[in-house]
């Protein structure tokens, strides 16, 4: 059973002068507890896809919506964004666009308060989010005095305070250095192992691919290719050209083209070295 289903979904924004088609006949199934990478060129429809998950499309953004999005069985047209916020937490690229409160604790309480939960329940949810993201020590600090990595953690925690089964993160590591980006990605992977479904937009494929169960490449509002990482990397679809493939993938694509006995496309250093050692031991001659 899928936790997210897009059934022939199309959406055009009303932009005043003309309609701008952002999603075109999108069909997508996401299994619960999977880590899904959404990628593609700027303007390919990634953000609109995310907005369709929690009902911002079509409830908040004006436009023409056809098809059906089911999130945990809920048809997004039948449920309010309030209800859907309990299913999907959205995290944006820039925490500045998301953080508003005087201190971290208040920030995390903001979502549960707006749902009208009881005081006890709010406190419990805030404590849960502080613990999961491991930011108890930041609870009294202003979000403004935190580092970029800490701010991003607070943004993720503020969404987790509603304890949704699905997290959708739009380039959550874009402003972070590689080590902090890796820390956030590893943390998201942990959340997946605790049962959350993770959807993420991330351009730095070399960092994220080792964690990914399913990769979806979009182009011009459509899903161009989807499947396992290896399946997508092998695809000849032109949408792949808009991705910055990790150097190891580029290397093995070249080897595959040049030498008939090369047929693997690894995307981690460990796997690549394993294959190269095996080839060398076999007495591979270039």
């Amino acid at each position: 059973m899928s936790i997210i289903q897009f059934r022939d979904v199309s959406f055009s924004y009303h932009t005043g002068e003309c309609d701008f088609p952002a999603l075109k006949n999108v069909n997508l199934e996401i299994s619960p507890g999977s880590f899904v990478l959404i990628c593609g060129a700027t303007g390919c429809g990634k953000s609109s896809l995310f907005r369709a998950l929690n009902g911002l499309v079509p409830h908040f953004y004006e436009g023409q919506f056809t098809g059906q999005v089911l999130v945990n069985g809920k048809d997004t047209r039948q449920f309010s964004t309030r209800d859907l916020s309990l299913e999907v937490g959205l995290v944006f690229q820039n925490p500045d666009n998301q953080l508003i409160a005087m201190n971290v604790e208040r920030e995390l309480a903001f979502g549960p308060e707006n749902l009208g939960l009881s005081r006890e329940k709010i406190i419990a949810q805030v404590e849960y989010a502080l613990d999961v993201v491991n930011i108890q020590h930041l609870r009294k600090k202003s979000p403004l005095e935190l580092s970029g990595g800490e701010q991003q953690r607070v943004a993720i925690a503020s969404v987790l305070a509603l304890n949704p089964p699905i997290l959708a993160l739009d380039e959550p590591t874009a402003n972070l250095d590689p080590q902090r980006a890796l820390d956030i990605l590893a943390f998201l992977s942990q959340l997946k192992h605790q049962g959350k479904t993770i959807l993420i937009v991330e351009h730095r494929l070399e960092l994220v691919l080792p964690l990914v169960d399913k990769m979806v490449v979009m182009q011009n509002g459509r899903i161009a290719v989807e499947g396992s990482v290896e399946f997508v990397l092998r695809s000849q679809d032109p949408a792949i050209d808009a991705l910055e493939l990790p150097p190891i993938v580029e290397l093995f694509k070249y080897m595959e083209k040049t030498y008939p006995r090369f047929s693997d496309i690894p995307f981690t250093v460990e796997k690549a070295s394993e294959i190269l050692f095996a080839k060398k031991n076999e007495g591979f001659k270039v």
Partner: protein, 274 residues
């Protein structure tokens, strides 16, 4: 030329040093990237170069001018800073107005101003958009406009703050070819970035900053393959270097390629040689 002579900086007497005893020389026409963790001092260093900040100790020289004795206006003629987010930089009605505003403050004749605008529009492929609002352009076109507003002033040093953030692969390729083209005009190109893979592909020299101190400076491949520097700066080395390290564990004779273009060759050599 940029020279830092034993430069230290702190925001006030009772705060910690943000930069500590840094010396550096960058020749005209170099293409260089500066990397370091968030909070390592990169933005402060950049602000020392365009005079927004003055060193607390030591001296910064830009083309021979000591920044401590020069006005921001004087320095802005030499050093152009392109912001990370074009939306923070652009404001005018049209792309041409953006460029016009940028040169208006210079004591140039109308003819010189017009020629500079025309040339910039051509060099940055913006002619087609010159009468359009910068806010209706795509991300890549906006980025070119924001570079154009600085480029039109003809600074000898161009600093770009995180130019690849949020850019997809096609936009990055276009940016890379634009920057190499700009470098052929003899400009110094200085990137502040986290993008290790972009740096290794395009920048011949790299500076690594950690807690306010330069701990690495040299040819990019050499610095990135220095395990001590990378781990001290908490930087994650590029994939090709990590793969070569892994192979070197059992085949110490395998040499590190001099540049990413030689990577495939190195792997072929590894497979070939017994």
């Amino acid at each position: 030329m940029i020279v830092l002579d034993n430069v230290s900086f702190r925001y006030s007497n009772d705060t910690a040093w943000v930069l500590k005893n840094n010396s550096l020389r960058i020749d005209q026409g170099e293409y260089i990237a500066i990397l370091g963790q968030n909070g390592a001092g990169k933005s402060t260093l950049v602000r020392l170069l365009n005079g927004l900040l003055r060193p607390t100790q030591g001296n910064v020289y830009i083309n021979g001018m000591n920044t401590s004795n020069s006005s921001v206006a004087e320095l802005a003629r030499e050093v152009g800073l392109v912001f990370q987010n074009p939306d923070h930089q652009l404001f005018a009605q049209t792309v041409r107005d953006e460029l016009q505003f940028s040169v208006k403050t210079l004591e140039w004749s109308a003819e010189k101003q017009n020629n500079a605008i025309k040339e910039t529009l051509t060099q940055l492929d913006l002619t087609l958009f010159s009468d359009r609002s910068p806010f209706k352009l795509s991300g890549g076109e906006k980025r070119r406009t924001s570079i154009g507003t600085i480029w039109v002033r003809d600074p000898s040093i161009l600093i770009l703050d995180e130019p690849t953030t949020g850019q997809d692969a096609v936009q990055k390729r276009n940016l890379a070819s634009l920057l190499s083209r700009l470098q052929t005009y003899g400009k110094t190109i200085f990137l502040v970035t986290h993008d290790i893979e972009f740096t290794i592909k395009h920048c011949p020299r790299v500076i690594i900053l950690k807690e306010g101190q330069i701990i690495g400076d040299g040819p990019t491949m050499k610095v990135f393959s220095n395990q001590r520097i990378m781990s001290e700066a908490c930087l994650f080395p590029p994939q090709i270097i990590r793969l070569i390290w892994k192979l070197q564990e059992t085949h110490p004779n395998l040499s590190m390629p001099n540049n990413p273009q030689e990577f495939t060759q190195s792997i072929e050599n590894f497979l070939k040689n017994q």
